[in-house]
């Protein structure tokens, strides 16, 4: 009962970004994807959600081949929460969340009773009922991110992918959204895969953490096992200290980098 990603190779044009990536995510589990920029985390999300065709590999959900499904069928299994960039400002919250039902609607897009109920549920779960008639252009970044999460929840899928859902959010919203995602993952038995830049957020909210480097997963497991000073140094090239907090989860603390003299370089004087 899980999402199985096997040996995926994907990239843009001739460039290979993902190299033989394999991963399994179970229902009710939150797996965080972390790693440096360009390591392939967002690319993996794009492959699973059907936006990028991989050159090789398979992605299966409980036996169904996700890669070769038509968009409508795939959208009933996989929902994506992208980053809140350039949302059309005139749509209201309710209109935007209702678009999450697209995979269940006809060409005309008329909402049925079950669709409306799903939208209301999603708005309630993300605490957006009081903002339902506001245009997106009137919302803060955190509120817009919640709208995208509500839209994905309205899709009622067993798999949820989040691409940096907390970028540009303040601390309170980061905690709110990720806490909500974890609770919903348990309650709805969803397999959740989320790309997070902040290692401490990943440590706090994820069941397992997959560390990416140069298109491959170098370590995967519970945060306490994966986040070691050696692993962070290997992947990020940055010295850190790992502390343990009360519940055993690792906290990553950036060590002050000692002053290293610049290597002597012959520079040409600009004219």
């Amino acid at each position: 009962m899980s999402l199985q990603i096997r040996d995926v190779v994907a990239g843009y044009g001739k460039q290979e970004i993902l190299r033989h990536v394999s991963l399994e995510v179970a229902r009710g589990e939150v797996v965080a994807l972390a790693g440096p920029n360009g390591a392939g985390k967002s690319t993996l999300v794009r492959v699973i959600s059907g936006v990028l065709r991989p050159q090789r590999g398979a992605v299966q959900w409980e036996g169904t081949d996700l890669l070769h499904l038509p968009p409508r069928e795939r959208a009933r299994l996989v929902a994506v929460v992208p980053q809140a960039h350039h949302l059309p400002p005139m749509f209201t919250v309710r209109q935007a969340v209702a678009l999450g039902r697209t995979a269940y609607l006809s060409w005309l897009g008329a909402l049925g009773e079950s669709d409306r109920a799903a939208v209301e549920r999603a708005l309630a779960q993300t605490d957006l009922l009081s903002l339902a008639e506001r245009p997106l252009g009137h919302l803060s970044g955190g509120e817009q991110q919640r709208v995208l999460l509500a839209r994905a929840l309205a899709q009622e899928t067993p798999i949820l992918l989040l691409d940096e859902p907390t970028a540009h959010l303040d601390l309170r919203h980061q905690a709110n959204i990720l806490g909500l995602v974890r609770r919903l993952s348990r309650a709805r038995r969803m397999a959740v895969l989320m790309v997070v830049h902040d290692l401490n957020l990943a440590s706090r909210f994820a069941d397992r953490l997959a560390l990416f480097a140069e298109g491959q997963i170098v370590r995967v497991g519970p945060p306490a096992e994966v986040l070691t000073a050696e692993a962070v140094w290997q992947v990020y090239g940055t010295p850190v200290e790992i502390w343990r907090n009360g519940d055993g989860r690792p906290v990553v603390y950036l060590k002050p980098t000692p002053a290293v003299p610049e290597p002597a370089e012959k520079t040409h004087d600009p004219i």
Partner: protein, 356 residues
Amino acid sequence: MLVQGRGKALPLQCFPMHFSSFKRALFLNLGVLACAMALSVAVGSVSIPLRDLARLLWSGVRGTALPADVPAFMAVIVFKLRLPHTALVLLTGAALGSSGAAYQGVFRNPLADPYLLGVASGAGLGAVVAIALQGESLTAGGFLIPGAAFVGALLTVALVYALARVDGYVPTSTLILAGVALGALASALTSFLMLQSQGTLQRAIVYLLGGAPLTGWKPVVAILPYWLVGEAILLTSGHALNVLQFGEDQARQLGLNAGQAKLLVLGAASLVTAAAVAFAGIIGFVGLVVPHIARLLWGEDYRRLIPLSLLGGASVLLLSDLLARTLLAPRTLPVGIVTALFGAPFFLWVLQRAKK
């Protein structure tokens, strides 16, 4: 009156259009359209009094004999000249308005217009080829020129689509590039052909600016099937266009077959535009300005925007055509010149208001 929202200026209508206000908008547009139609039939080199016009139409609808005290020539003017002309202008304006809204929706760009993928330049090329092939014959050529324009428009769009294909997808960025490139090529070929002979040049210019000089119901009947099919698709594509406003990636992730939806909508929009342009010539601004104004007034929900732009486009073109016929009476200005002369400053005025 604008509302500042987080630094983004929102237009006049910043709350969702509830059903009641959509109904109001619809009735307003229908009312304006009815007035425009009445004026269009009544006004001209012979002025038909509105009372007589109403009685003529009423007897026509009921199929009874014409009222005795209305001069017979008025009946001829109304039924054989004015009504078909009004119908043609209405269909043309409606096509330009609705397809302009559709193009703006697919390209997510308020500067898009129905000629973006080469409909206008393709139509021009088709028409000029037909004119050139006709030789020095002085006859209008009947349906050859509009037919060639129609075919030229659709072939150009099809070619643009084929050229823009990348890895099985047709991204909007390559569509625009291909449209611009092929449009320029078609225009160049058109100019070349026009310069080949004096006769071709004159007739081509007349056609491009003002359309085919055909009267009666035949042009209306000719474009009606294409208009109906295309508009049926456009009027129902509001939901798909709404989904596309979040970008193609998100649209696919939400379950829309974005490629098919774009093809369907652009195909329908190009079809109605080609049909409109075939007989009316290249009329600018309507497809750009009408959806824009509709968006400023009534918001961006494409399920509402397409029908409102359809009605708005029809009204605007009817009024422009009226002005074209009356401004320099008894001469008739090409409608395209009127739409440009009034469209541009009006649009600038709306923009100035929106900025405050």
